[in-house]
């Protein structure tokens, strides 16, 4: 049988970096092939070369036995290659169906296309409303749009870059069924992931990349996670240690019956949210994106003020009326979900980005920036948190996702906060960096700080949290002790089935 896709000796160099060095692999029709590797290993570059978004310096590509001479995204689509980007290629200012129309050939009929989108999205358990504007969608919902867009094309080769990061466990299972069904129909799938368990469940074969080089190939179903991880990281994986903790007597962060109707027609109204985070513990909030996390976070961080008195308190004092800056002065630190643009200013160098929140540590004197102190602070974060970069003068957007996240988390931890709120701490971050960040969060809590993690990754929450809540349709569940609950219970609460037996998954998400 001819392979669906064959790569021969692909090389791609950037100034100072070799992104891909002599990479060869082949994928058979109907095969689900994993590409494993840490962030910065060159996986995304390789996928973009396959899709034609960037050009390889050397090497050749053969598709269904025919060499591809001149490549480009439009050629890919003509051949039947579809790709779900890690950083989505969606346009914010137009609706879901208009976004999809852009990559569908044929008659421009939005009504008919909207119906098809709805059908396909329901069929594959990825519900989306085709007429919503993308700017109002959460990360998880955007990913659903991307996947549905590809599925509409009946692809021959589907490339998925970290597709499950923001899906509920039930949705992941559903997606895997979809992908298996697609593979059974003859579609080849290239599956990029850091999640070894997923690769083992789903993929027939795997190619492991490290620093642009292939470090091994494997049959994931016959390999152990430890073998795969070692090929990927080049060393044994660090384990997180969750030591027992002693918690403070009073909560550091307290939310008392927070009810907030949403003005935005697409927003979620918060309903009677009760939450306490004590010093010395890590509390997690699980939930599928778009269930009120964004609204709750903006009330907690101070990006949106809350009018009611004594509803949001920080260390016993009402902070509902204080803006984000004043809350930070009282010991709150916050790491948002979006690294580029909200957590860091993309084109500015790390020293400037360190100063964004670190300026409270004496980096400004008589309205003048103490450049030396800012540089030292950035250098200290880079050193302590093991950030791979050429130095504090690198631009934030030149770092890989995992390294930038380590830098941002490091910046907030170095402020010595009383309360740290962090949203999606390891979204799109590789195994090594994720383990490092998780351990850093646990360690912070063990020094007496209160840590609140909002995440859609259940494994992560179960790994680091002492207690868990679940958010669904603007309501927060009661507190669940990690030791007395399990993934199934939390998964059911996430889809609202348990508390609200009449609703189904489609309505809940």
């Amino acid at each position: 049988m001819t392979p669906r896709l064959e790569l021969r000796h692909i090389c791609k160099r950037y100034p100072g970096v070799i992104a891909n060095d002599d990479v060869s692999l082949s994928v058979m029709p109907g095969e689900i092939h994993a590409v494993l590797g840490e962030n910065g290993a060159g996986k995304s570059t390789l996928m973009k070369i396959i899709y034609g978004a960037i050009r390889a310096d050397e090497g050749e590509m053969v598709f269904d036995g025919n060499p591809i001479a001149s490549h480009g995204p439009s050629i890919s689509r003509a051949l039947g290659i579809e790709m779900v980007y890690q950083h989505f290629a969606l346009f914010e200012s137009i609706s879901v169906v208009e976004n999809i129309a852009l990559s569908v050939s044929g008659k421009f009929d939005l009504t008919a296309l909207a119906n098809r989108v709805r059908d396909v999205s329901i069929k594959y358990g990825l519900p989306i409303d085709p007429h919503r504007f993308v700017c109002n969608l959460s990360v998880g919902e955007r990913q659903r749009v991307e996947i549905v867009r590809c599925l509409l094309q009946m692809p021959k080769l589907l490339i998925l870059d970290e597709p499950t990061s923001v899906l509920a466990p039930q949705a992941v299972t559903k997606l895997f069924e979809t992908l298996r069904q697609l593979a059974a129909e003859g579609c080849s799938i290239l599956y990029i992931s850091h999640k070894l368990d997923e690769v083992q469940v789903l993929c027939d074969s795997a190619t492991v990349l490290r620093n642009g080089l292939i470090t091994g190939t494997a049959k994931p179903k016959q390999s152990t996670p430890i073998e795969l991880a070692r090929m990927m990281v080049g060393a044994d994986l660090p384990e997180t240690h969750l030591d027992p903790s002693t918690t403070s007597d009073t909560p550091f962060l307290n939310v008392d019956h927070l009810t907030a109707p949403s003005d935005d027609p697409f927003g979620v109204s918060l309903n009677d949210v009760l939450l306490s985070v004590f010093g010395g513990e890590v509390v997690g909030i699980a939930g599928i994106s778009g269930n009120g996390q964004a609204e709750l976070i903006s009330f907690l961080s101070g990006e949106v003020l809350f009018k009611g008195a004594d509803t949001i308190t920080l260390d016993g004092k009402d902070v509902g009326q204080l803006d984000a800056g004043h809350r930070r002065e009282r010991g709150l630190a916050f790491v948002p979900e979006e690294r580029l643009g909200r957590g860091a200013v993309p084109p500015h160098h790390l020293s400037d980005n360190a100063m964004l929140t670190g300026h409270r540590l004496g980096m400004v004197k008589h309205w003048m920036i103490q450049r030396g102190k800012a540089n030292d602070f950035a250098a200290q974060i880079i050193r302590k948190f093991n950030v791979k970069t050429t130095g504090y003068e690198s631009a934030a957007n030149s770092l890989s996702g995992g390294n930038l996240q380590k830098f941002i988390v490091g910046r907030e931890i170095e402020l010595g906060p009383k309360v740290l709120i962090i949203s999606q701490p390891t979204w799109g971050v590789d195994v090594g960096a994720a383990a490092f960040i998780r351990q850093a969060l646990i360690d912070l809590s063990r020094t007496g700080a209160a840590v609140l993690i909002i995440s859609e990754e259940l494994d992560e929450l179960f790994e680091v949290c002492d207690r868990l809540h679940v958010i669904c349709q603007g309501q927060l569940s009661k507190s669940l002790d990690r030791k007395n609950t399990n993934v199934e219970e939390v998964g059911l609460l996430m889809t609202g089935l348990k508390s609200n037996p009449n609703s189904n998954i489609g309505e809940a998400v």
Partner: protein
């Protein structure tokens, strides 16, 4: 009633050059390109229109030449900004200055010889209806054409796939390129369309409105078109509204001067500019509306990834 008809028709006519230029610029900006050279392209169009007309060629040819000259002038900006990725502000400003100079050069020998002006169309029956006729059916062909262009552009941008592509390129050329659209080519076409529309706006001034060649005759109408697009939040219907507002203020201040309102004429002359901007700023304060319509990549140079 006669006064009302005079103000109404005067408004429509005074707004026409702005409608052409601003709608053209709207398409350019929707594709993420900022061409500040409208004033220059309008002047080139105005001068070329008069030139062709003086050469004894028929009016439609003069108008088409003006549009072609505007498009050609815009190419100068296009090559600088799109191919050589120079700063769009600088490239646009130099086109504005260059166009002013070139138009003065073309028009040097024109003097003030009489010109065959574009005259109102006589539409059988319709023009003769009392009140309605003079209000709506007594304009020259370019006025009607400006309305057709408004309809076409609105339809193109919001109902066709090509229009959708223009808008998405304006939001993110990187993503548009990633899904396989020829960003640079489409931006060139948008820039040339904007140039042609500015040329038409200029030709309207010199062939119908004045009708005469006067050096620098646009008197800032290119700049006000630019402001119209921004303050209209990149929506064609608001551009139309803004242009009429400007037109009505122009007529109002002329009438005001005639009626001897005791304000310095300088204050009255500045009224259309001030009133238009103030009103459009007030109606465009809706943050979400702006966010949805603003072309995010505006004036940012784009080079396709290799």
């Amino acid at each position: 009633m006669d006064l009302f008809i005079a103000i109404f028709t005067g408004t429509i006519i005074a707004a026409t050059p702005l409608i052409f230029a601003a709608l053209g610029e709207l398409v350019v900006e929707k594709s993420g390109v900022l061409n500040l050279g409208i004033e220059g392209m309008m002047l080139v169009g105005a001068a070329v229109g008069v030139w062709v007309s003086y050469a004894g060629l028929p009016m439609p040819l003069a108008i088409m030449s003006a549009a072609a000259a505007g498009a050609l002038a815009s190419l100068l900006f296009g090559v600088l900004a799109l191919t050589f990725l120079t700063n769009q502000y600088a490239a646009g400003l130099s086109l504005a200055i260059f166009g002013t100079g070139v138009s003065a050069f073309i028009g040097k020998g024109f003097g003030s010889a009489p010109l065959d002006a574009l005259i109102p169309l006589e539409i059988p029956f319709l023009t003769e209806i009392p009140v309605i006729g003079p209000l709506f059916f007594n304009y020259d062909p370019l006025v009607y054409f400006s309305f057709i262009m408004f309809g076409l552009i609105s339809w193109f941008l919001y109902k066709t796939k090509a229009g959708l592509v223009v808008r998405t390129i304006g939001e993110s050329p990187e993503s548009s390129h990633a899904i396989g659209y020829p960003v640079i080519k489409i931006r060139y076409l948008a820039v040339m369309f904007g140039g042609a529309m500015a040329g038409l706006g200029g030709a309207y001034l010199s062939l119908a409105y004045t009708p005469l060649w006067v050096e620098n005759m646009t008197a800032g109408k290119g700049w006000i078109s630019l402001a119209l697009v921004v303050f209209a939040a990149w929506r064609p219907a608001r551009v139309l509204f803004g242009a009429w507002l400007f037109g009505s203020m122009t007529i109002f201040q002329l009438q005001g001067q005639a009626l001897g309102i005791s304000l310095p004429s300088e204050v009255l002359s500045s009224l259309p500019y001030i009133a238009t901007i103030v009103v459009l700023v007030i109606i465009s304060r809706n943050w979400q509306f702006l966010a949805l319509n603003f072309p995010t990549s505006l004036a940012k140079p784009f080079r396709p990834a290799e």
